[in-house]
Amino acid sequence: MFKKKECVAMLLAGGQGSRLYALTDTTAKPAVTFGGKYRIIDFPLSNCVHSGIDTVGVLTQYQPLVLNEYIGTGLPWDLDRNHGGVKILPPYQAKSGADWYTGTANAIYQNLQFIERYDAEYVLILSGDHIYSMDYSKMIDYHKKTGAACTIAVIDVPIEEASRFGIMSTKEDGTIFKFSEKPKNPDSTKASMGIYVFTRTKLFDYLIADAKDPDSSNDFGKNIIPTMLAAGEKMMAYSFEGYWKDVGTIDSLWEANMDILGENPVLKLNDSHWRVLSRNENAPPQYIGPDAVIENASITEGCEILGTVRNSVLGANVRVLAGAVVEDAVLMGDCVIRAGARVSYAIVDRDVVIGENAVVGKPRGEAKGIAVLGEGYEVPAGGTVADGAIVSAKGGAM
């Protein structure tokens, strides 16, 4: 017997995240490690749980293995429920044939059954690309109060950056009258955060119509939202204030990681009322050796630091051996930085080994860009990885 759920969340986690290059070779973007012990998907999942949403469908497609394993039964987020909880929704074979998800809207369209199963009144659409803490229940309340067909969360961005986003033009009461995807000359600074609340009946109508349109690219931003707007549906913008960062590029991922550092970090992970939940590694406490130097760093369990770590974020079980120096770097976990090696201005994925006296990247001031080392990459003793280079164990240098 299924009880009704007022709102279910659908988390779009199938994207490749191609602008993260080597970091998403074998992992879907939502499963990319963030802040040492989190994955990007921990943020929307934790937000759901703290907002009282206990039924989350995670739509996967690209390289789902790590993501599936990470989510597991949903226990770390208390989403291992008898009724509801977190469910992985991969593309499947149906009587009429089998299709990959052709777009964000199509992914939801193929899973209308899931939403029907819980008889949800409202559907919250999320993506696994952003780092932020947000109370979705307030947005859903706003949606109910205004009686909108669709509510889109927006955040104020600087006007010079507005052309990178989907921009909403709104009336004073928050009603959206114009939506432009990455406009050259933006006339508003309200950027879509890719978070939508739909009234279920409206969502179903437009998704079913969209699926019949052979010219549609089955995308929320490109098709569903403009169509609804053109049809005169009530569309509301819900303004959000607070930390929100798209971590879809190497630079933004590096910056967001750095935001957890400092005396008063811009991104607070330890808010006792809104703790970011994650699957924790079972590792002993970190050990800091007698000659270690640690300045402005975030370090996770299982690490062994015998060398120097500055302005860096280290994931679990990283070993920085004597005389090695790590600065302005993000090391995702299980890495070994051997004696005398130097890692500067870099993002280093899991299981990377950096040999003795090897040099990765250049100091931040001098570097052309962030050096990126893909999962399992090995830099031989004395080897170098150039500043701004992107290397992966499978494809070699890129």
Binding site: N270, N280, P285, Y287, I288
Partner: protein
Amino acid sequence: MTAAGIIFSNIHDATIPELTGRRTMASIPFAGRYRLIDFALSNMVNSGITKVGVITHYNYQSLLDHIGTGKDWDLARRTGGIKILPPFITAYDNATAGRVYSTRLEALMGVMSFIDRCTEDVLVLSDCDVICNVDIANVIRKHEASGADFTVLTTTVDTAEQPLDSHAQVPVVDENGRVVDMAEYNGQQGRVKVCADIWVANRTYIKRVVTEAIAHGYKSFYRDVLIRNLAKDKICAVEYDGFFARINSLASYFSCSMRLLDPANRVNLFYRRNQPIFTKVRNSTPTRYSADAKVVGSMIADGCVIEGTVENSIIFRGVKIGKGTVVKNCILMQDTVTGENVRLTSVITDKNVVIRDGRELCGCESMPFYIGKQIMV
């Protein structure tokens, strides 16, 4: 041979009253993020045991809180899993009404129904005041090969490093690995072979000897069961040579903890292949070190904020070290908060202790200064 486990959670609590005032020996925090029972549980789980009974006595709320469903040790199971075995007290029998067991032997008698319901060939019995990482599956193999009724795990300790008390049993083992004599530790110095207080025994044997001993009105498991039966039954020893610590006083809690700051000991206890130590997971953030932090020779758990200096110390989860504060040779348990310009030397703070700005507290290694749970200084 199939095996089930039994853990004695309150054993020898009285040796360390400071830390067991509000908790069991089993739930004493240790090494930054563990409780003592984690070692006994992990040893069992790593050897393939999936049914563990935990015998409790009193003060076991903190233990229940730590164990939860047993999920963190993969012991939340339909079949088997972790079973808490609280004392069995009858309200109707005048002779024993309201009386909780007082010895290990009585404790075993009290859980006889658990032992009866087990179908496993052997029982692995373990105390919680010993810290080691043993391949118990290997001990069980040796137990089976020797055809013993009862196998005692032994280890050799240096009394300079690991002081012993009369709770330690010193066995005499012959060349065939058979225990021929056993006595309480009598003050001998140097390298001493002692029982590690982990045993493997045939289940039917335990059932028989415990029932017989109780029927005779005996009290002590070692004296009245093991030592009396040394000649009659086959009692063997298996030697363990990894990291071993036995906590029998606040000073030994301090020194055992500090031994883990030696990298060789830490690796020996925590990084044995296929033998990880499991514990309850808490959702902590990574530890944040400020630009002024200075940390050397220390073990630091997650969720801390370090803005001062930490030397040669063990820092548990969620501890905050304020600016200008210097912490040397200390053990600061979970969620201890130190203000600014605090000086702590050879201090043990229990959970949730607050040290206000500018305080200076100092103990010494043989007499660490202990600050109880939730005290504000």
